[in-house]
Symmetry: C2
Subunit: 319 residues, 2 copies
């Protein structure tokens, strides 16, 4: 099984003036604010391999933890963090037998040139792709600079993994992890809408291999509402050459929806060839054992299950 | 077929200083800003009856258009609008044969006492229930005043219909009707989470009959993520006596999800007894013919289809 959605934390990040760092090997900090407790799974290859063996995971794609993206910081600062984090990820993955841990890099997406250059450096250094946040401030994935970057990834032939981050803050979302439980699915929903209605899939090469975290957010469940709006309110909801449902073969989603009925909606709506296993390991809002819902799904036959567990990820990653 | 989710517009609303009104029988205005074009379907019983006959709808529940709620305005102003709109709705429904158009009222939910009093007046006047917005500014449905109101509705034995409104504004949501396509499903998602984790279902009478518009927003699709979070991060995500999945028999959702695969998720997750037909008539983001996805759903047998089309709504409405 290939798990395309796991995270690491760069252990060796020294304390910046106001950005993310790790305190005492146990807490992600943003400046002086405690952001999230973390453990050795986040940077220790042996701990990860033990969990992978327990869960039956052969390969983990190891991606950044989004709080380190820093798209809201000066480019030079975000690039500095990206370089050090990306090198840390290579070192982490080198501690495992070849091929079991495969790093994805991060880039300062607020600057297309810097982002493209860092991606090129990453690919030469051994990263298998890149994780990006789903927006850069008020710019969504149809922003010209982001599209330039996506086209660069397509030209390099490396996959892009889109993770929600930087969710809106409001008193209503400041309880019960609502930013994660409600905000994240809405963020990814909006970003797939932006890819479609913003004409990105019309403009960017069909060689682009892109995957959205958490089952594509709420997008797959609301495709029908979008399709109806595109047809009946084309004056406001147009923007793409074709109806939204025509673009479902342009992206992948991961399987971390926790429930067979939700996984079934993904497979029935997007197609079994569009779903890859993701777990969000090692975070508590992730799935353990990784891939459980795919292994247990009664509606998948053995060939389909194998496709979701391995075959689709090989195509997505270009292995 | 009973359609529990349709809207009307109070034709006779004179222009307030800054609130909603109707210009020339063709445009909902908010102060001097154009909000939405509307047609005679919004207030003409004969036009509605013709569409109902064409769609095979026997009964419409006729609810306010949320922009008239005015929860952000002074209580006296919102109450004034509510009274006049509620009386307009009664007049509209009286223009149809008995029982075919059944009005739901609106209340100034920012003030529990005024809201309870107006609901009592509505019920005596012939309204079958009440539609409320899913939040009052930063207060969600677990706010003490809102819970007082919900308990009052339960004690009167009348149903509550929860409709998303007042979606966050941001440049990213100001395109493609994204407030409606992405914002509304997230709003309702958050509000069901608030009912559960805010302990409302634990505190309020189980006699409360409550239904959430648009299939319950993104809640049903993300139940698994919520359940996992409740179990693994109870320190942050607790708040309810039981796990979230224990409350699925406490509310209804409507069927306006446009796609058989999404409807199937609703039925499989919440139970066939929890889904009622809603169309969002007469707005273009609604379903026409009303109830199409329910009529065409291949996974429902005849008894289940009848239950969704009629039986569940009778129970919800108390008919």
């Amino acid at each position: 099984m290939i798990d395309v959605h796991t995270h690491y934390v760069p252990r060796g990040m020294s304390r910046p003036s106001d950005g993310p760092w790790v305190r005492d090997g146990s807490m992600i900090m943003v400046g002086s604010r405690e952001f999230r407790p973390v453990g050795a799974e986040s940077w220790d290859a042996q701990r990860r391999l033990a969990d992978m063996d327990a869960d039956g995971v052969d390969v983990q794609v190891v991606s950044p933890t989004p709080v380190f993206f820093g798209y809201d910081r000066p480019v030079a600062d975000a690039l500095d963090v990206a370089r050090r984090a990306n090198d840390d990820a290579l070192a982490l993955c080198a501690d495992a037998p070849p091929g079991r841990l495969r790093p994805m890099g991060q880039v300062p997406l607020q600057d297309a040139d810097a982002a493209c250059a860092e991606l090129s450096r990453c690919v030469e250094a051994g990263h298998v792709g890149v994780e990006i946040g789903n927006h850069v401030g008020d710019r969504d994935l149809d922003d010209a600079g982001v599209v330039t970057f996506l086209q660069h990834a397509a030209s390099l032939g490396v996959p892009v993994f889109v993770h929600p981050w930087d969710m809106p803050l409001s008193p209503r979302l400041d309880r019960w992890m609502a930013q994660w439980l409600v905000g994240m699915p809405a963020e990814t929903h909006l970003s797939i809408v932006a890819m479609i209605l913003g004409g990105v899939f019309d403009r960017v090469s069909s060689e682009l291999r892109i995957c959205f975290a958490h089952g594509g957010g709420s997008f797959p469940f609301w495709l029908g509402r979008l399709e109806n709006a595109w047809r009946r309110r084309g004056d406001l909801v147009g923007g793409s050459e074709h109806p939204p449902s025509a673009y479902l073969d342009r992206f992948y989603v991961d399987s971390v929806v926790f429930d067979e009925r939700a996984l079934r909606l993904l497979v029935d709506t997007l197609g079994v060839e569009r779903v890859v296993v993701g777990s969000d390991y090692p975070y508590p809002l992730g799935e353990r054992p990784a891939g459980r819902v795919v292994r247990e799904a009664s509606f998948l036959d053995d060939g389909e299950r194998q496709q979701v567990m391995v075959g689709n990820a090989r195509k997505y990653l270009g292995l």
